[in-house]
Symmetry: C2
Subunit: 116 residues, 2 copies
Amino acid sequence: MSEDCIFCKIIAKEIPGDILYEDEQVMAFRDIQPAAPIHILIVPKKHIPSINEVTEEDETLLGHLHIVAKKLAEKEGIAERGYRLVINTGKEGGQIIYHIHLHLMGGKKLITPKHL
Amino acid sequence: MSEDCIFCKIIAKEIPGDILYEDEQVMAFRDIQPAAPIHILIVPKKHIPSINEVTEEDETLLGHLHIVAKKLAEKEGIAERGYRLVINTGKEGGQIIYHIHLHLMGGKKLITPKHL
């Protein structure tokens, strides 16, 4: 746990979150500033600031985030319609909270931006 | 391998790709229609149509795609500046090729779209 990390505080239940799923390795809760009709964050309980800090040891954990996302997409009724999974890293990637989080977004046809 | 899958054909080297990385499990090549200055696709060699079809057995493989993406971000010189990892699923998610692919995008400040 990192002292100043808001996601660590939600994981520790020191501050509230709209928690949808929890197991030994991960927690999932709704984004408080949704960018899509359905916008859920799936986070590892282990504090890893960004993808830049992951190692081979974290492979299963990173994969597990995606398995949980897939199950949440089914539960939210968007599996067939479709959805997007996003991990932002660093400033140019748009990362705001420096604790890895997988965005699950859906609920409408998502635009595919061009960054050119 | 799936007969009609363009990514399976690149993996089998039946059609050319700008291949940047290859190991037993995954291959990475540049997107032929880049949506960012740096736009690389990291794909599992195993044909899995989308995240909707993954199982617990694929956890390590899914994590491995991300470890490879991290290393490619370093190699391309965008690790510190930042980058985005995206997996689109299904129609509303903007998936075009039905063989799982992790988009690694960077090289400029990426916009963060609102889908509301």
